[in-house]
């Protein structure tokens, strides 16, 4: 165990996998010489050289095309898209090419690649650099979707994503890069698709992802002080989705809340709510309530952004009001 920041865990996972497998290559904008604009990849160029760690032009379609073509022909590329908002300029490569090619080929090709991207708000970057777009990826068949909430998961899940034989989107939350956690020092790999129960409580199930996990945990503490005990599930992955853990908990508590950073409509929580409303309806003691950002672009000013993103207080209030 060593205490690492979330951003240091990114380098740790990339280093671990690049050391063990020379077919792992890494490319993106300002990622090599500069070590990434979020300083999440320093030292890789120095350790693995300019042939394996490459700076690209500002051309996201080229970046993902390079990654896809390389994955079709024996490499395991890790591509960085600087901000997840920029998925919009290379969405065809993600949604139409990378996601669909294996199925359309009837299994003739496999695409072992990872797309890393900085996702989410909370740092006052405004509407075009702060989106939470995990649902963009979740809705496309053929993509696996990972969103770690802490440094240990970042190391293990990014390593797991690189070893996974299918395309995996790894959402790194901008607002978590500076957070620290104890991270296993040696080789550390987590399987995709296993949620994590980060707080146990019998009265309600609260499902959260990435930066909303600490928010939900804080809300759980607030409620605990009032004698309300809730379970907090860190989903970790949206695809594969650990419905066993979610439904198992809901069947025990009878209440389901989702805490989503995304604007409301068609967020990942909607999918989970619909699954529970079909498969656990008899266990529900009351409404399924989604706590999300309102359906708005994210405003830039600190005070306005804070009003839009779910806060521990809003989460606690909503749960309190609903349970009573």
């Amino acid at each position: 165990m060593a205490e690492l920041t979330y951003r240091a865990a990114v380098v740790a996972a990339l280093t671990q996998e690049m050391e063990r497998d020379t077919s792992v290559v890494f490319l993106g904008e300002d990622v090599a010489a500069a070590g990434g604009v979020f300083k999440a990849t320093p030292g890789l160029l120095e350790q693995f050289g300019p042939v394996r760690v490459r700076d690209t032009p500002i051309a996201e379609q080229a970046i993902l095309g390079l990654a896809m073509g390389a994955a079709m022909t024996g490499l395991k590329p890790v591509a960085e898209i600087m901000f997840s908002d920029f998925f919009a300029v290379c969405w065809d490569l993600i949604a139409n090419e990378i996601a669909k090619t294996r199925y359309m080929s009837n299994g003739q090709v496999t695409l072992p690649l990872v797309i890393r991207t900085a996702n989410g708000g909370g740092i006052h970057f405004g509407a075009q650099h702060s989106q939470s777009v995990e649902n963009w990826a979740m809705m496309i068949p053929g993509l696996k979707v990972v969103a770690p909430s802490n440094a240990a998961d970042m190391k293990g899940l990014l390593a797991g994503a690189i070893r996974d034989p299918d395309p995996v989107i790894v959402f790194e939350h901008k607002n978590l890069y500076a957070t620290k956690a104890d991270v296993p020092a040696g080789e550390y790999v987590l399987p995709l698709g296993k949620a994590n129960i980060v707080h146990a409580g019998s009265q309600a199930t609260v499902v959260a992802l990435a930066a909303m996990v600490p928010v939900a945990l804080r809300a759980a503490e607030i409620l605990e002080g009032e004698g309300i005990a809730v379970t907090v599930i860190d989903l970790r992955c949206l695809v594969p989705l650990d419905t066993e853990t979610i439904l198992g908990s809901v069947r025990e508590t009878g209440w389901l809340f989702t805490v989503e950073e995304n604007p409301r409509l068609c967020g990942w929580g909607a999918e989970i709510a619909s699954i529970a409303a079909e498969e656990a309806i008899d266990s529900l003691s009351g409404p399924i309530v989604r706590i999300t950002s309102p359906h708005l672009p994210l405003p830039a000013a600190e005070e306005l952004e804070a009003l839009v993103l779910p806060s521990p207080e809003r989460v606690a209030d909503t749960i309190r009001r609903t349970l009573r």
Partner: protein, 330 residues
């Protein structure tokens, strides 16, 4: 002249390939009319010399990337015509078991790394295969075919610039058949030659050739592929040609001036090449034998495809993931 380089036997082989591609599509079109093939498809009738010349210059382990108008490019790499007919008919024995269809033919074992139906997408992907070859040091080359209309979309620009900067072994081949779908390329492009006139924007040589002359195509292909294989970087080739038919099954191509069609039909690569071979000393009988063999081969593959079973419903959810399944939950 370019073709003086290749022997008569080689040139008879080029004739045979063009003949196979031509007849494959003419018969495919009839199978549509008969209702044996459904969905859509995009024929390259009249453009065979480009697929033929490049395929002849490629190594078996080189990579081909093409579009929805890709039957020729896939077959020219040696893919079974029966498997392609089967895919067009949507059969279990089709190249992709019916999952891909006419627009997405792919056969990695033949180096055919896919047919892409979103304009421009495969240019950066081809660059990626070339990057992989460069990284692995295999001296493989990727050849990427696309149309004139594709030169106006963003992905073209991103792929060309990045491939040039990284000196990737990729050949970008613009098959300029004069039209996007129904719109003449000249009305939507700022330069007369959509690819050739843009080579300089990527520090590349201006290469404009007659795409209906298989000898010229082959000579050019051999030259640019050799350069790329030797580490000299990418090339952008504009090959001028013409679609004999419409954009797709749905299109009678009524928008084309009669004189334009007439002029281009006079440049049909097949009869012209046949005449050139005769002039070069080929026997009529030899050519007729080739025609007959090709016809027999194609009828046999149609029969084979027609006999294939429909797709197995049980397989519909297979092969989204590498584990063979498509589960998104536990």
């Amino acid at each position: 002249m370019a073709h003086s380089q290749s022997s008569l036997d080689q040139r008879l082989a080029l004739y045979r390939t063009q003949r196979r591609l031509r007849l494959f599509e003419l018969r495919a079109n009839e199978l549509y009319v008969d209702g044996l093939i459904r969905g859509t498809s995009h024929l390259a009738t009249g453009q065979e010399a480009i697929a033929t010349g490049f395929a002849a210059a490629m190594r078996p382990d080189d990579y081909t990337f093409c579009t929805y108008r890709g039957h020729d490019h896939v077959i020219a790499r040696g893919v079974s015509m029966a498997a392609v007919y089967g895919e067009l008919m949507g059969r279990q024995g089709g190249l992709m078991g019916g999952k891909g269809g006419s627009m997405h033919l792919i056969s990695p074992e033949h180096g055919a790394l896919g047919s892409y139906a979103i304009v421009g997408a495969h240019l950066p992907i081809a660059a990626g295969a070339a990057w992989s070859a460069q990284y692995r040091g295999t001296e493989q080359v990727a050849v990427c075919f696309f149309g004139d209309g594709t030169t106006n979309i963003g992905a073209f620009h991103e792929a060309l610039n990045t491939a040039a900067v990284w000196k990737l072994p990729v050949i970008f081949v613009c098959e300029n058949n004069q039209y996007m779908e129904y719109t003449p390329i000249g009305t939507v492009t700022a330069v007369p030659h959509p690819a050739a006139d843009r080579a300089s924007a990527y520090g590349l040589e201006r290469i404009l050739i007659d795409g209906n002359d298989v000898d010229e195509v082959l000579a050019t292909a051999e030259r640019v592929i050799a350069t790329a294989r030797a580490g000299g970087g990418p090339a952008l080739v504009e090959a001028e040609t013409y679609r004999h038919g419409g954009h797709s099954r749905a299109d009678p191509a009524a928008y084309r001036p009669a004189q334009e069609v007439k002029d281009w039909m006079a440049r049909d690569p097949l009869p012209n090449y046949r005449a050139r071979l005769v002039a070069a000393g080929a026997e009529e009988a030899t050519l007729e034998a080739i025609d007959a063999e090709v016809a027999a081969e194609i009828e046999a593959s149609i029969a084979e495809a027609t006999a294939m079973a429909p797709p197995d419903p049980a397989g519909v959810a297979n092969d989204l993931w590498a584990d063979g399944g498509s589960a998104w939950r536990n």
